[in-house]
């Protein structure tokens, strides 16, 4: 274990024996990465380790187990191992139905079996994702509050979180508006000088609201600069504006 700090302990009940896991961190590095997973099968008399997550520079937040399988929740996603070869971890892509990547950061995971249906859940900064097909497609629960009626005419257009810290959390900002008729809107993003940054189309419709998701990149897939950006929603023959502050940490 050398001079490492133990920042997490988990117990795994395998089919034929119990395994004790620790998540360790080397404080000499003076930063949160990398993390190492250590495990013992003989009550601590001897320890083994996997440096896989050191190799990819991942912070391991939590471990979860289902039978012999191991699930590691990290800031680089959710990883799976069958428990036999602990140097081989398979990443899950937390994608929506259209296979759009939703998040990298996974804080925790869980396996539930209900009526012979296995449900894989992942806790992320953006909400709780769950999958019925072992991580191929995901759906999510997410909580947000509706924009106040008084804002921005009756469409209540707003962007959250605002300021948008691009390098923190899930790296996405949502621009939402009231849209009871589920009209297809278009969102154009401009900088202070009204240079066109990007156009977003085909919003996600959720109940009476619609939302665009923006990752802070321009039409050339480059990160935009710090500053305030002006978002124009085109809906029918009307325009609605809101402002969004972008900050790189």
């Amino acid at each position: 274990m050398e001079d490492r700090w133990i920042i997490g302990i988990r117990s795994q009940e395998k089919s034929d024996f119990d395994r004790l896991w620790t998540i360790s961190w080397n404080p000499a590095l003076n930063k949160a990465v990398p993390h190492t997973l250590n495990y013992t099968d003989d009550n601590g008399l001897s320890w083994s380790f996997t440096r896989f997550f050191e190799t990819i520079g991942a912070i391991v937040y939590d471990l979860n187990f289902h039978n012999d399988n191991v699930y590691a929740s990290t800031d680089k996603g959710l990883y799976y191992s069958d428990g036999n070869n602990l140097n081989l971890w398979i990443p899950y892509e937390v994608n929506d139905i259209s296979q759009t990547k939703m998040t990298d950061v996974v804080y925790s995971s869980n396996i539930n079996v209900i009526d012979n249906q296995q449900i894989l859940s992942a806790g992320t900064p953006d909400g709780l994702f769950y999958s019925f097909d072992d991580g191929f497609t995901w759906e999510m629960y997410r909580a947000w509050n509706r924009t106040q009626d008084s804002e921005n005419d009756n469409k209540r257009l707003s962007a959250y979180p605002n300021p948008f810290y691009v390098d923190e959390g899930y790296g996405q900002v949502r621009i939402v508006y009231f849209n009871s008729s589920n009209d297809n809107g278009k969102l154009d993003i401009y900088d202070f000088s009204m240079n066109h940054i990007k156009t977003l189309k085909q919003p996600n419709n959720i109940g009476n609201e619609s939302e665009f998701v923006w990752d802070g990149k321009d039409k050339f897939s480059d990160d935009v600069s710090n500053g305030v950006y002006l978002c124009r929603l085109s809906l029918g023959n009307k325009y609605y504006w809101t402002k969004l502050m972008v900050i790189h940490s």
Binding site: P125, P161, F192, S193, G227, K243, M245, I247
Partner: protein, 162 residues
């Protein structure tokens, strides 16, 4: 060769773009001409466009601009330049751009604080000309951005162009 040297200097000046608000314009003249003032012989606000022509300014020059724009944007500039002894000129300029208050939101779309943004650009420029008509100029920019009022998050940057 002399023309090539002049063009290279001009390109360096054009490519120094510290922020979007700096690109909008700095006077009614620059806005109306889409900031195409690199070769402008009208002796005002050269430090924003091309300090290498500062040697052509006459006496002392002052400039003041104020823009009120849509979507709560505003832009103000102050400019001073003067002729120096010999074939040289010097100028100092300040540009401030701001965007008015808007509501901050947390990760659940709850209102938080009123936000606003101000960018300040300070320029100090010097230009000198030669007898054959070519010129060289240097401009130092300081950029201060007050991005978030309640968090006092701010940035400084210094850009030097030749």
């Amino acid at each position: 060769m002399k023309n090539l040297f002049f063009i290279l200097i001009t390109i360096c000046v054009i490519q120094s773009s510290p922020g979007a608000s700096y690109e909008y314009g700095y006077s009614a003249r620059s806005v109306s001409l889409s900031s195409a003032l690199v070769a402008d012989t009208y002796n005002s606000m050269q430090s924003f466009a091309n300090p290498s022509v500062l040697n052509q300014c006459k006496g002392q020059n002052y400039g003041l601009s104020y823009f009120m724009m849509s979507l709560d944007r505003s832009l103000q500039t102050f400019y001073y330049s003067r002729k120096l002894a010999g074939n040289a000129g010097i100028s100092a300029a300040i540009l401030r751009s701001s965007i008015g208050e808007f509501m901050g939101k947390d990760s659940f779309n709850n209102p938080t604080n009123k936000l606003s943004n101000s960018d300040y650009y300070g320029l100090l420029s010097f230009g000198v000309g030669t007898k054959n008509g070519s010129g060289i100029g240097i401009s130092m920019k300081i950029h201060y951005s007050n991005l978030y009022v309640n968090d006092s998050s701010s940035q400084w940057s210094i850009t030097q162009t030749r």
